[in-house]
Subunit: 190 residues, 2 copies
């Protein structure tokens, strides 16, 4: 998505330690007009897949999941992060390591919200090492749901998570894939 | 909003301890079609207010804030919750007690995203004691922004937070106001 690449170059800030800040339009501040353009693009990429639910994880995945689900016309389910394991058996859960915050989270979804009848599109704002996507796919698997694929605004291609998912057979649609990033510049995958 | 009252009666679950569960359409699972009807309703209520930004707090406020901002055609800014106080002075912050989770959170917004030129609409999914709204208003005040008003899907009227805000002169638009709630039933304000 050329317009996203241009926006990243114009408004994104590369920090030390491999961090791309896009908080001015995709995180703590959300350019809603642009968000819906991204959502529309994701919906078009999966138009033939008979999606029944969009699955994401709080908090930064919710906005783009809602925008895509608006065009696909299905509900959003978002996993919550929890430091404790729910022992009541009423939830699907997976363990996800956050490299950003250096902690392990359990992500949980109540069993009521996913079923074997669902064909799930997994969405998040960023895909780097792919741990969040793997956790969400694990939750979909626990529910017996099909996974139609993964969609993301920005994939850090050089971290390999997206290509790992592709190697496993998942359709991964990234609106922008960064193959090199440094203070000197950003190179997108062609 | 009659359709929201009907949806609460049909799909909401009243639990012990004064909890209304609407996770099947407004929290961990989001009925996106209905979400945008609520967003449209909020946008209409503030159509003459020249809103420049919608302000909310992660995580459950993000979806309805995005839906309303889509119709108002302005960016969303969401506050993050943090247990530590940021001492770098790059953020606006306020202390908010969560009665649901029995903890104090600092909610923070980077200074880049609010300014004295902004006329802010504060949005959340629930309004009970009003602490989250007060914290968000405090952040808007720190930024020198105007506060055009507050909008919420479900107000627990009997907890008084909404009426406190009205008494302070804020325009508060709630799509449904619950004045009584028990296992026996729910009464909405006329």
């Amino acid at each position: 998505m050329k317009s996203l690449e241009e926006k990243i170059l114009r408004e994104g800030i590369v920090l030390d330690g491999d961090v791309l800040k896009v908080g001015s339009f995709l995180n703590q501040q959300i350019d809603v007009d642009f968000l819906f353009k991204m959502g529309d693009e994701i919906a078009r990429a999966f138009a033939d897949e008979h999606i029944t639910k969009v699955l994401t994880v709080e908090a930064s995945g919710i906005a783009i999941a809602v925008a895509a689900a608006h065009y696909i016309n299905v509900p959003v389910v978002f996993a919550k992060k929890s430091k404790t394991i729910n022992v009541h058996g009423e939830v699907y859960s997976a363990r996800v390591h956050s490299y950003t915050h250096c902690i392990d989270n359990n992500i949980i979804v109540p069993k009521d919200y996913l079923s074997p009848n669902d064909n799930v599109l997994v969405i998040d704002d960023f895909l780097a090492n792919g741990k969040a996507f793997e956790g969400l796919i694990e939750i979909a698997n626990q529910a017996g749901s099909q996974v139609a694929g993964c969609a993301v605004a920005i994939e850090k291609g050089y971290q390999g998570g997206g290509d790992n998912l592709r190697a496993k057979g998942y359709k991964v649609h990234s609106l922008a894939i960064i193959d090199e990033m440094s203070a000197g510049g950003i190179k997108f995958r062609k």
